[in-house]
Amino acid sequence: MNNRGIIMLFVLTLGCVKPIQRSLTDAGLETLNTMSRKAHVANIDVVDKRPPDELESLSPEYAYVIFLLIWFQSYQEGHVRPEAELYSKDVVKEMQTLLRRAIDKSRLFTPGEGEPLTLKVELKHLYGISHAAIAMIATSGVATSTTRTFAPYGFASAHVELLDSFGAKLVDREVIGYFDPNINHILGGGTAQSVSFTDSLTHAAVQAAGHLAGNIVKAIEPAVSQYPVVAGSTPVENSSTFFIARHTEEGPFVEIAGINYETGEIISVNVIPRWMEPFSGINEWVVDPYFGGQVRLTPEEYDKLVKRLQKKYRVRYTTDIRVAHFFGVQ
């Protein structure tokens, strides 16, 4: 193999196999699982604000090339990123569809009922990326090439606003989503199998978009807790069972224990994937602000619950002004 052939080896690996054309609508979705509120998202506006250079592909650049008679040596290092069009032909439309799927899957809203809300999403970044280093040496007809590539990684970020029917902003914040094949295996997603390294990068980008969509719904959930639950008022005041919860050390899971209020008996223990944003430090037992992982209690509802529990149990606001720690029976 001549030197030119060696030089082109990595480029061929990336570019010769026809990459799969993906769509954001194929992303795996992981979002909340909560009681529905009397509100609905009437409009989803997505604006593409990605920087223009993020839409172009990237490949490793030469750090040096040494060519001396029969000796050739080169070193390339840099980021690898496919063209943005490969993971979405129409990012605005596909993102709108993805967000609608995430909203419907969460069951947080009740279609057509209650307050009509508008969700505005300004997409700031979306890409799949990796990093590669290629060292080549060729002399006297012998060539060696060492390539080191890092795992593909997907990243997405957006500025999100949720407005009520009067145009008042209920949410105004940044949300991110990411995909790491080593830890996001639970996302799944229906994208086609990767045939080339480029495909693994576009797969990462699509899954990052899905993670972003799910996180956007999680991010707007606190603001929606002011609307009544469709099933009726949350069963806090007279419930015979209350719940304590702790974030586990081993990943994004919450351990929830159901306790009989009168007897103090533990009647259920479940570990569920944490669909909400974190509400306490790791391994700290708190009175569950999501009442058994079902529905977020308003500050007033939660405070009433804490006062009721304090009659029989050691419950105190310690380091957090909103979430009370549980220390057992009095």
Binding site: T149, F155, S157, I176, P222, V323
Partner: protein
């Protein structure tokens, strides 16, 4: 001529700062000296204003995924490390607020971050709210033919709000740390440094 080329080659290979993954240049972290993870921060000497520090939002672009380290330890074998599940901003947040409280600072956490105005800590009629957004967060692992080092850097934008959610002021904190792997948690160590920067603000007057 051959010697010149050879020396140039060696210089290029040996002195170049390794390029970080995913668009980041870890020169700052690479050049740092290794330190102890935990540091002391000054005891509280402020005006007693209670401050509620909301859970840090993470708006940074830095990935937190798994990493790939070369088979041989070398100064070029850089990889993004530290792959905890889920959010990582709570680790920095927890360390920051816990170390401040341990040193007598009147600060409280607000994990739930309700968008509406909050009641504040018990016993305090007035209080301030610090709302932090992590703009940059970089975590790197370095190998240099020896034990691994871990390093982290962050930039956090803060808004200072009144108890009725009026914006009073803004400020920015930057913090960085490099520790020996196994000597502690690098995000916790970073939290200590963030706490030290916040301590300066709180002692000078919480609204500044």
């Amino acid at each position: 001529m051959k010697k010149l080329i050879l020396v140039s080659l060696l210089l290029v290979m040996g002195c170049a700062t390794p390029i970080g993954m995913y668009g980041h240049n870890p020169e700052v972290l690479w050049l740092m000296k290794t330190e102890e993870p935990n540091i002391e921060i000054p005891r509280y000497s402020g005006d007693g204003t209670a401050v509620v520090i909301k859970r840090f939002e993470n708006a940074s672009l830095v990935p937190i995924g798994g990493h790939f380290i070369g088979e041989e330890p070398c100064s070029g074998c850089i990889a993004q490390s530290y792959a905890p599940y889920g959010d990582i901003s709570p680790a920095i947040y927890e360390a920051t607020v816990n170390i401040l409280r341990a040193n007598g600072y009147p600060v409280w956490k607000d994990y739930l971050c309700d968008p509406m105005a909050i009641a504040g800590p018990i016993g305090y009629k007035s209080f301030l709210v610090y709302h932090g957004v992590i703009r940059e967060l970089e975590i790197d692992t370095f190998q240099d033919k020896g034990p691994l080092d871990e390093a982290a850097r962050t930039v956090i934008d803060f808004e200072v709000l009144s108890s009725d959610s009026r914006k009073l002021s803004t400020f920015q904190i930057t913090a960085k740390v490099r520790i020996r792997r196994g000597s502690g948690d690098v995000l916790e160590a970073l939290g200590f440094r963030v706490a030290r920067e916040l301590a300066v603000k709180l002692n000078a007057g919480a609204t500044l």
